[in-house]
Amino acid sequence: MQNITEELEYWFWLCNIDGMGSRKLQELLECYKEPKQIYQLKTEEIGKAVYLSERQLAGIKESRKNEKWKKKLEQTVEKGIYLTRYLDSAYPKRLLQLLDKPILLYSLGKLPDEQKKMAAIVGARNCTRYGYCIAEEIGKIFGRNGVCTVSGMARGIDAAGQWGTLEGGSESYGVLGCAVDICYPGENRQLYDELAEKGGIISEFGPGIRPYACNFPMRNRIISGLSDFVVVVEAREKSGSLITVDFALEQGKEVYAVPGRMTDLLSRGCNRLIAQGAGILSDLDSLLEDCNIKKRKNGVKVTKSEIELAESEKLLYSDLGFEPKNIQMLMEETKLSFCELTEVILTLQLKDLIEEPMKGYYAKKA
């Protein structure tokens, strides 16, 4: 548990004033150096040196009315949440370069290690199964080769990439658009727990702040800020992931995209990025070279052991990809009869080579 110093208390107070953005806070801190100093000043006097809006002034007045925030800080720390000021040595160096760097970071688990390579894996929430599997694969390859990943812990691609990294044996960091003690989305509870244990959960939002839509673009700048490069797996033409990409380009980070077919709506965003000059990830085998990462010697790619397959089984297996296909499609493509097909499907299912992600649809296992 973190020690609550008097200094920290005032930092906490300052950063939880309603209506204050990180740029304004920075301005204030440049002017007065210490939050305690600001606390001791009269509200009107603060407004003299730095321009403050009506709302911000009201926020300061409100926050000074009582000392509830002290209690709040205690509760936060009791939950095992760490607070890191931007002046602290533990503060991620990569974020210091941001103009609007978060003044106070809340975290569960670790903060990223500066020495390790850090990749951001981002993409659509409503992704295809293909996208999900690819994101997971990419995460695994990074994980096996000691690359850490950072993402938004959202549904779909984000979660897939983070699960993959954890499975590959590396650390992954989730940057949230709400307070760190809120698990959003709720269905990723398991991922949240794993991340807190094996990596970290990071947020700039103070205790109790709910996942408002306006928070997400803000957290995206932290995702790109924490990373050395950004990988976009699937994105629609108008996608939140592209906001992350914009931040990354602003911050001078490399951007890589996974290409897709022209007609796939979920690949439009990625393809456009590639057209605009983003790096292309065309092969999982050469992923690391493409991203300029040294391959770890012991990070050998695990190949599926050769399993003896009958002729018809081979036929079906080679026809299947990550994208689920239904029986009617498979019948046409393999020219097997319905009865034969069901038998082959079951055999492959029992050999754990394919799975049924949705009723009646079959796909290769990742």
Partner: protein
């Protein structure tokens, strides 16, 4: 002067005998009716009085008392007009009392003395036969329906005066000719749709055939416009023709519901009922102050098709549980409990999400949670009762142009499919002779042990599949039932690996497994 006329009432879908007692006595002129009567029966006094007057009879200024016995049964409907009129006439001496002893009378009167048709004639005539009455007088328009009952003469009448003529000497009149029953011929003539019109969708057609062969319930899931409704409409065409007993039982239900006409006095075609999803629970199950059969009973021996299954309200869907399990439904109301048969085959169709295109992410942008919520509207217990669950893909251009492109030969027609279904049904009928069941879908757990013999390869497969696919005991039984039907269709006594793997393919997985 007292007299008694035999008549009947409907209780559920069965008729019961009711005695109409009429007495003329001295006193202030009045017409009193007793015997737990509904409003339409009380009104009948006016109809009877006017009909008698218009048939040139004068009602004597006497005190007329009418009792419908047994008096503790609630009676409704307009079928007592005619027996009451006959009773009054008999009391007045126009008809000999002895002539009424072997006559059962039902019918509604119009003011000019014409006899109008009523509901439920078939079960009423059955009740008359049970009471060992030899002759029935029914409205002319219901005569064909009543004549379906053998060992009893059914005489159709058009007017009150005709009734009088008949009753002068009931023995002299010929009964109505019954409908000559030939289920197979009747059914094939009356079909307007055929499976050969469905191009492509071979997998689904196969599933439909299996469902028909074992009376398994079928759930079709797929994108809009993929032919789910089209397939469902054609399922009755591959079900075996109705037997005489089935036809009679169904006709009774339709008779009570008032859905028969004099052109179609018997239900000879397997019913196909497709209620809209705004249906209420009681119109599905059956209901009313005196319960009438609902859709589950009207689709008895046929197909109950529920399109857009998740759009049905939850309470309505849960109503289906008991009828699907017990093949009958007990509807209880103030005036008693009524049992209706519900031996239907459920065919349901649904999309996979609100927009219908999931999992095609190019077209569907529903959130995973939305998809889950949509699929979650179907409860687990209901899914547990559906043996075959089939995914339907949308039809592509090549499929529509199938015949020309030679990619698909013209689809099989209903006749060949039905022949196969009938063969499989015959196998089942012979196998289950000693049991109370007719089809594989009715097999109980202990019967499954007895009748579903699996070869060794199949055993191995099932054991593996059980662990890998996380089957439940209930799911396991359903797979065996469907495998039994597939084997019956192939004409094999033993269930093999091939049958099992196909059956496993049809299993309906639970919601969590439906999506990633």
């Amino acid at each position: 002067m007292f007299c008694r006329v035999h008549s009947g009432a409907i209780h559920g879908i069965e008729g019961i005998q009711i005695e109409v007692e009429v007495d003329l006595s001295d006193g202030l002129p009045s017409l009193n009716m007793v015997g737990m009567l509904s409003a339409e029966i009380k009104e009948s006094s006016e109809r009877v009085r006017t009909a008698l007057k218009n048939s040139k009879f004068t009602i004597p200024p006497k005190r007329i008392t009418i009792n419908l016995s047994p008096a503790n049964i609630r009676k409704q409907g307009t079928l007592y007009d005619l027996p009451i009129a006959v009773g009054i006439l008999t009391s007045m001496g126009y008809i000999k009392k002895e002539n009424l002893e072997q006559v059962f009378i039902v019918g509604e009167l119009s003011l000019d003395g014409k006899v109008n048709p009523i509901k439920g004639v078939l079960p009423l005539v059955y009740a008359a036969r049970q009471a060992e009455i030899s002759c029935c007088i029914v409205p002319k328009k219901n005569a064909k329906e009543g004549a379906a009952v053998d060992q009893i003469r059914v005489i159709g009448v058009n007017s009150l005066l005709e009734v009088l003529t008949v009753l002068k000497n009931p023995e002299a009149f010929q009964g109505e000719e019954g409908v000559c029953f030939d289920g197979e011929k009747m059914q094939s003539v009356s079909e307007e749709v055929d499976f050969s019109e469905v191009s492509g969708q071979e997998a689904l057609k196969r599933a439909a055939q299996i469902a028909a062969a074992g009376m398994h319930n079928l759930l079709m899931m797929g994108a809009p416009g993929s032919g789910k409704t089209m397939i469902a409409r054609r399922i009755p065409t591959i079900l075996p023709p109705m037997t005489w007993e089935e036809s009679i039982e169904l006709t009774k239900i339709y008779s009570v519901a008032g859905l028969l006409s004099d052109k179609n006095p018997l239900v000879v075609k397997r019913p196909f009922r497709a209620p809209h999803h705004t249906i209420s629970a009681s119109s599905l199950a059956g209901g009313g102050t005196i319960p009438k059969p609902g859709e589950v009973s009207l689709s008895n021996y046929g197909v109950l098709f529920l399109d857009e299954l998740p759009e049905f309200s939850k309470t309505v869907l849960e109503v289906l549980r008991q009828p699907m399990e017990d093949r009958k439904i007990l509807v209880s109301r103030v005036h008693g409990s009524y049992e209706f048969p519900t031996n239907f085959m459920l065919v349901a169709a649904m999309n996979c999400c609100g927009c219908g295109y999931y999992p095609d992410r190019n077209r569907c942008n529903c959130k995973e949670t939305q998809v889950a919520r949509y699929l979650g509207r179907i409860s687990r217990p209901l899914l547990d009762r559906i043996d075959i669950c089939m995914e339907v893909s949308s039809i592509e251009y090549t499929d529509i142009r199938g015949q020309k492109k030679k990619k698909f030969s013209k689809g099989e027609d209903s006749k060949t499919m039905r022949e196969r279904v009938m063969r499989a049904r015959e196998v089942q009928r012979i196998r289950y002779q000693g049991e109370k069941i007719n089809t594989n879908s009715e097999l109980s757990a202990s019967q499954i042990q007895c009748y579903c013999k699996i070869d060794t390869a199949g055993e191995v497969l099932l054991e593996q599949a059980f662990a890998r696919l996380k089957l439940t005991a209930r799911g396991y039984n359903r797979i065996l039932k469907v495998a039994r039907t597939i084997a019956d269709l192939d004409g094999e006594e033993q269930i093999t690996r091939r049958h099992l793997s196909e059956a496993i393919c049809y299993r309906s997985t639970n919601i969590q497994e439906w999506r990633r």
